[in-house]
Each structure stands twice: as C-alpha cells, then as structure tokens.
Symmetry: C2
Subunit: 278 residues, 2 copies
C-alpha cells in the first residue's frame, strides 16, 4: 500500500514541472503514508483521505488569511488588473489573488477587475470572468496585448496575480504574461502584487533562473480548441510560465503577512517563523 | 459622376478611423476626379482607374525604398520581432516593416522573424507567418503575452512594426499591442523601429493623443473565430490600436530616409522636402 501511494505521488509529480505546492502536498501525503504504513490498508486509506481533506481545509483558511491581508491593499473603488486564474477555480474556495478581491467585496468595498484573457489557454477569459461574475464582482475582459494601453488610459490601481513558485530571492514564476504585466506596471507606476501561500516558496532555489519552465505543445498556439489560427506546421515557442524578478514586485501577500519589497532576508525570516508551511 | 466618386470616397473614409493613408489615397482620387469632371463618364472612369493603378505602382516603389533603407538596420543573423501584419498582405507587394526583412533576405542575409499572434484578430498568426513561410523566411509564432520572456531569454535584435498614423511629434498609432512591445523593448534595451511611408504621417495632429482610436465589437474578444472563449455577456474593452510615444521609438524608416530618434523638427523637415507625399 505504501509503495502504491509513493508511486502514485511520484506519477502525479511528473504532471507539471513549475508549480511547487503540488510537490509540497504530495510530499506531505507520502510522509503521512509512511507514518501510517503499519496499519491495515482500509484504515490507512481512511486516514490518508482525512489528511487530504485536512490539506483542503487548511488551504481554505490560508486563502482566507491571504484575502484579508490582500484586501487591506484595496481601497474603495479599486480597479484590479489580474492575469490567468488565481481564484476559486484554480485553488480552493477563495483563491489567492482573487481572495483579496472577494474579501474587499464582502467588506462592502466597491472593487472591480480587469481580466487579461491569458493566451493560449484563455484561463482569464474562460475562468476568471466566469467566477467573478458569479461572485457579483464587475469584470472587464481584455486581450493580453491591451494591458499597456489600459494601464495608460483607464483607471488601474494595482496588478494582483498568483504564483506557481517563488525562489529564495523573491523571483516569481507564474503564468506566461505575468513578467510582461510587471514590466508594464513599472512603466506606468502601478503597484504589482503577488498573492501566494508559503507553500509556493521554494527556498531550495537561489533565484528564478533555476525554476523549471514548462514548454507546451505548439498546437495550443496554432489553434484555439478546434479552430486553427495559424499555418499547421509553423514553428512555435510556447512557454507556459515566465519569471518576474523580485525587483519588479511591490509586495508578496502570504497567509502569514505581507512582504513589502521582497528580499532574500525578509523571505527567509518569514519562512523560518513558519517552518511547517514549506 | 463627380458627385458619385465623392460620395463613394466619403463612404470608404468612414470604414476605419485610425489609419490615415486611406484618407490620403481617397483625397487624391477625389482631387483627380475634380480635375477630370469635364470629361465624358467613360473617359473619366478610365483615367480614375489609371490613377488608382498609379497609386499602387508608387506604393510598391515606396515600399521597395523603405525595404532597402530598413535592411541597412538588419545585420546578418538578425532576429526581428514583429506585430500584426505590415507585409504584402496588408499593403502592396513588399509591405512596410516586412519589406526590410524581404530585402535583407534577398541580399543573402540570414534573417528570421518572431511573429506575435496579435489578438484578437490574429493577423500575426494568420497572415505574417503564412507570407514569411511562403517567402522562405524562418518564422516563429508566439502569443502576445510571450514577447517579454522571449526578449529576455532568446535572441531578439530588434522590433520592427508598421504604423497606421504618425502625429507631428512622432507618436505612432499602430495595431493594439504595439505600445506594449515598445515598453518591453525599452526594458530589454532592444531597438524599436517603425516602418511607414510619408503618407502615414498626419502633420495636422500635434501628438498621439489626438489620433482617433477605433474600438471594435466585444465579440472579437469573447470568441476566437467561431469558438466562444468567454461568458457571452461579459464586459469587454477592445481598442483596435494603441499609441506608442515617440520617445520609445529608435527610428522611423520612411521611403525618403530614416528618422533616428524622431522629433517634431526632424519630421517637419522631412515632410517639407517631400510635400506631395502627405
């Protein structure tokens, strides 16, 4: 049974290389399985399921705390630009970046969101707009290429995104297009925030250049679902994530506090105070 | 007959508000019609058609000159990033931005292109990749959101785009996403070039904020050709063009010379030497 759990965890770990909290959760399940391996199979299965549910409940409480802290950065009438989906659909319950929006909304603040569509898989268009509308939060959809002109000509108070992995120095890997938004935000003097639980930090990596970036099938760019959009054999570069250097990040919002102007030292200190979370 | 030509020209002028050389060509046809209005209808029609063909031939020779001048900026093994389609399909024969690539290729230089797909209408994916492949020029397709990470991690020697209208101070209106590329190019110390004939200059507009920017149907963003990509009633902001400030532009390549670091004075001087072109 233990061997099967370990094999399954190792298999699941091969699914995506970039996001680190998948590995964190799998490691935790493996650890738990090792501690339970003296028990009969059925009992072990029940307790492992309980552990998985515990992770889920803990995640929700983490995201609620991220939301409460994040909401302090959102004034009344705040317009938040976001990328991809760092909401309920990608995580649990509140999400990370969107948790701040949901909490601010619950506090009676008038907040609205500009969602970048996030090519090639259009998570912003398909997921973020859907869940925000469902939550009663006004949302406007734009193509990724419209972010710069939107920042220049419309009211955008802050950029708020999630993270797939954060290196020891504060460099953040997140959905492709995030680095672009961070540079554009800097050019327009708009603060750029990342919301992520401590489990997204990977202190084993010195900086963002060491984060493995998944490259995906050219077909994602050559077509949208079943509709071709380019010559069928055209050469494509399709990185699924990019790395935003720490120096472009105004703050990282974690469940244990906001790290303003993230540095190696500040991150180390926060992780040290909460050793079980990474 | 004259009235009908004028009405038709006025109608065609309402088709798109941003690109200025459409108006330039229509004005020229109207002027020619006025000079010919004493002639019988059939004769006037023939001479107007000749005038239209003359414009076409002149455009080709302009684009050839733009290409020759532009090619001087492309070294051997140059990697050019471009946006939308400023090639044969959008203009005549050589195009503007792509003319430089075609001429460099003809000169035996090893040049390749990175084409941004250009959401929402995907002119980069559908047109630019197709015509470059047909011309034997290596091309790689990326999503617009991948431009920043491509500039950072791959070899990109220059950005080269077309223009729909250029104000007196050198601000350039071009396909949505161009302004974004210009800011990203600046952040990565990559030169940013605009190729356009003098007919794209509009000296009646002091600066880019006066260029009318067409906003198009939300449906273009809510769907990907026939495939829906967002909730059907989601709010959308869909500007078809943006304005790149002159200060981000390394040079404007015209058929009468390259304007390095464009300023109001340099532009005025060039236009003054070629009064028939604007």
């Amino acid at each position: 049974m233990l061997k099967k759990v370990e094999q399954t965890c190792d298999y699941l770990a091969t699914s995506r290389p970039t996001a680190v909290n998948l590995f964190w959760a799998l490691e935790r399940m493996k650890r738990r399985a090792r501690n339970l391996c003296h028990l009969p199979c059925a009992r072990m299965r029940t307790l492992l399921l309980e552990e998985a549910h515990r992770i889920f409940e803990e995640e929700i409480s983490r995201f609620r705390r991220i939301g409460s802290l994040g909401a302090t950065l959102l004034g009344n009438n705040a317009v938040v630009m976001t990328h991809c989906n760092a909401g309920a659909l990608a995580t649990a319950m509140y999400g990370t970046a969107l948790a701040a929006v949901y909490v601010a909304h619950q506090q009676g603040k008038n907040v609205s969101v500009i969602a970048c569509e996030t090519r090639p898989l259009l998570q912003g268009a398909r997921l973020t707009t859907w869940e925000l509308k469902r939550g009663g939060i006004p949302v406007t959809l734009i193509c990724d290429s419209m972010a710069a002109t939107t920042m220049k000509n419309k009211k955008v108070d802050l950029i708020l995104v999630g993270a797939d992995r954060i290196a020891a120095n504060g460099d953040v890997a997140n959905k492709i297009g995030t680095y672009s938004l961070a540079l554009l935000a800097q050019a327009h003097n708009i603060p750029f925030y990342v919301a992520a639980p401590l489990s997204s930090f990977d202190p084993t990596l010195d900086n963002g250049s060491q984060i493995p970036i998944e490259e995906r099938s050219p077909e994602e760019v050559r077509r949208f679902r079943h509709t071709p959009s380019a010559p069928r054999d055209v050469n494509v570069f399709n990185p699924a994530f990019d790395v935003t250097p720490a120096k472009l990040i105004s703050a990282i919002i974690t469940e244990h506090g906001i790290i303003h102007r993230p540095t190696r030292q500040k991150i180390k200190k926060l992780i040290k105070s909460h050793p079980c979370e990474t």
